[in-house]
């Protein structure tokens, strides 16, 4: 769907084969009820396919296919959406991006190398309310980080903390003393989240990531990247739900006619098809701009504007579109016997995990207002 160059097409087909063989629908359904969804050997294989390196500069051990690693990674995110695949794709890549861009040499030689090899999984603690105090040996962090993906499987979580110099990032090993995890239940049964409590967690001074006081700006950048990944996953899930529904309305008969012969149904499918195209288009453009660090402000050349526009629009209309697919399926659509729910769950999670569609609309609105009349 998102592959353009020949390299990207090869990457898409090898990645697609992996996802299809490891996560057929029956396996995803089984994992939904399983105690744990993460399998370390499988993640190492995934890393070998190149899923962990794309957002990291070559100098830090990474590398992209097209020169825009986010556009490359969008291909994998969309495959995850199409198959409702589990796996720590987002958090691991976001932390790799952070360490590759702002990390120290030691952090790149240590945690980042483990992440790139698929030996370690990481999480972005985007809902952090933590404070830090300096100690003689380093830093002591306390507080709560909500909605941390894969926390029980991850080795590291990137957390922003309030400290005297402002808001700064720190890399917390989840095995450190003082870290406690509370498992959460949620709408998506194959992406698992934990609330993480930090109670006087003592870290060395080398745990800071990036310049002191830069976390707000860096989190904003990571939010742009996370938005693109969520857009890719939503676009993939929408594509699949739409395809299932197109088949369904062709093969289901009512009053002696196929459902797809009713103009009402045809018009609904036309609306859905258009939303699928819109989701793909805005995901691709956002990836192209965010991944190349292009533009600022609210214009059509600004990565942040496109990422926010995508999340505001697809976040609102994507889950609604899949609910409409369910409506078109009738009764079977609201049961676990019909796989549509897998895509519904994934889409509504992505549409809200990093902020509601309304919050993304306000984020874009602030860019417009800041830019003034020139737009």
């Amino acid at each position: 769907m998102f592959a353009q160059s020949e390299d990207q097409q090869v990457f898409e087909s090898t990645s697609a084969r992996f996802v299809e063989s490891q996560y057929p629908a029956e396996r995803v359904r089984a994992l939904a009820r399983a105690e744990a969804v993460f399998e370390a050997p499988l993640w190492r294989e995934a890393a070998a396919l190149g899923w962990t390196t794309l957002l990291v500069p070559e100098s830090a051990g990474g590398g992209s296919l097209s020169g825009n690693g986010l556009a490359d990674l969008l291909i994998v995110a969309s495959l995850f959406g199409r198959h409702a695949a589990p796996g720590p794709l987002f958090g691991t890549n976001l932390v790799a991006r952070a360490l590759g861009t702002w990390g120290s040499a030691d952090q790149q030689a240590g945690p980042l190398a483990e992440i790139l090899a698929g030996d370690a999984v990481a999480a972005w603690g985007h809902r952090s309310a933590c404070t830090a105090t300096r100690s003689s040996t380093g830093v002591v962090v306390s507080g709560r980080v909500r909605s941390v993906e894969s926390a029980a499987d991850a080795r590291y979580v990137l957390v922003s903390v309030d400290e005297p110099e402002g808001r700064s990032h720190v890399l917390v090993p989840l095995a450190a003393p003082g870290v406690a995890l509370t498992p959460l239940k949620g709408v998506d049964q194959t992406r698992r989240f934990w609330d993480v409590t930090l109670d006087g967690v003592t870290l060395p001074g080398a745990a800071w990531v990036g310049a002191m006081g830069a976390a707000a700006e860096h989190d904003d950048e990571l939010l742009d990247v996370a938005s693109v990944l969520a857009l890719g996953e939503m676009a993939g899930a929408l594509h699949r739900a739409f395809a299932m529904t197109l088949d369904w309305v062709a093969n289901r008969y009512s009053f002696g006619r196929p459902l797809n012969s009713y103009q009402e149904i045809k018009h609904r499918m036309a609306d859905l098809r258009t939303q699928v195209e819109a989701a793909e288009a805005v995901a691709a453009r956002a990836a192209s701009l965010v991944g190349s660090g292009s533009g600022s402000g609210s214009g059509s050349g600004s990565g942040r504007a496109l990422a926010s526009a995508g999340m505001a629009h697809v976040g609102r209309h994507g889950p609604e579109a899949i609910q409409d697919c369910i409506q078109l399926h009738g009764g079977i659509g609201v049961t676990n016997d019909c796989d549509l729910h897998l895509f519904l769950r994934r889409t509504v999670l992505d549409a809200n995990l990093y902020g509601s569609p309304a919050e993304f609309a306000r984020r874009l609105g602030r860019l417009v207002v800041a830019q003034g009349v020139a737009g």
Binding site: L246, V249, A250, P258, N260, S261, Q263, K266, H267, M269, A270, D271, R273, T274, E277, A278, E280, A281, V282, A284, R285, S298, S300, A305, L306, S308, A309, G310, A312, H313, V314, A358, F360, A361, R362, R363, L364, G365, R366, L367, V368, V369, Q371, G372, V373, A374, G375
Partner: protein
Amino acid sequence: MSSTADVPADVPVEEFAARARAWLAENMPPADPTAGHFFFTDTSSRSDDHDLVRIDTCRRLQRLLHDGGFAGICVAPEYGGQGLTPAHQAAFNRELRGFDHPIEIQASTFIPCMAVLLEFGTEEQKLRHIPPMLKGEAIWAQLLSEPSGGSDAAGALTTATRDGDQWILNGSKIWTTGAWYSDWAMCLARTNWEVEKHRGLTVFALPLRTPGLEIHRIELLNGSVEFCQEFLTDVVVDDRDRIGDVDGGWTVMTRWLHHERTISGGSPYVTSTGRSHNAPNDGPRLAAVARELGTVDDPRALEIIGEARALTLVSDALVSSVTRKMQTGELPFHAAAMSRLFSGTSQVRKAALALELTGADGVMWEPGDDQRAGVGQSWLVRQAACIGGGTTEMARNVIAERLLGMPREARRDDGAFRDVPKGPR
């Protein structure tokens, strides 16, 4: 001023763009960022004189482009064009940002009229009509829709009867943009009532100031009087002004409609930046309204401004993605209906968002407050965005039937057109 009309077709796009950049900076006036837009997107406070001044400006700007060697970039040199490629036109359109340009005459003169002439016109017709178009001397209109029905173009009732080397036209056309200031028109007429409706149509070119042709203005809900209705009574057209074969009009029409739809993007014949920072009800305009009302920092105001901007950005992304996929063959040309549907419904939503932003201040305003008047007026007329240029219902049919392969709607008009029901009996 030197002409570049003799530039070889293999001039590199980059080189062409650099020359365009320099030429534009020297010759083209800057765009007026506060200027309203023609057509139903702007409000009623303008006079005819104001519009005529702007149309004269368009003619002058078009002439400037022509003399500079930048008109008809994808049109062959023998018809006054540059003989270059769509990539050159796209590069020129990028360079055009920030400059005034004759945006109001791109549709209908260049698409669909010039595009149709290039495909179906005789050599004589092309030599006669295209150079004046490119020089800004001839503005064209489309005599297509009829009062009996807008979406069913093939159901035209306007009749052309042959009389030797001439045709006599009778009937009425409607929803003609700018017929009152245009010079020529392309007209669809019925030449055979005894065959299936698509097989009895013929296309003609005719001057708009000709005996028997009366032009009336139509007032829209926002006060715009841009649209016209024409009444044709024994209008005489030479057979040499027939475009395409007798009764072969639907073949022409298919391409006519295709070119008309490319106004949302992808035409090699349109000189336009393709975007407007001052579009009604887009985020920046709403931000200006909210500033005036002192609500710009309210969370709900920010949300409305952001949603409006998101619709514009997503719509732009959709249109350029669909255009690219149609060019590579990844999608059939019927996919343009998705661009039409999305831009129509998003304009309607933006009009609703604007009114939500203003509340009472959008339903009444002090005389001369164009900002607030624009909100109320564009809300009143907002459905035009889902009607004009083919309704969104038709677009949904095209997407469902042509793109998704769903069953076609039943028809009751497949016999001789004379026998097709045209109203309750």
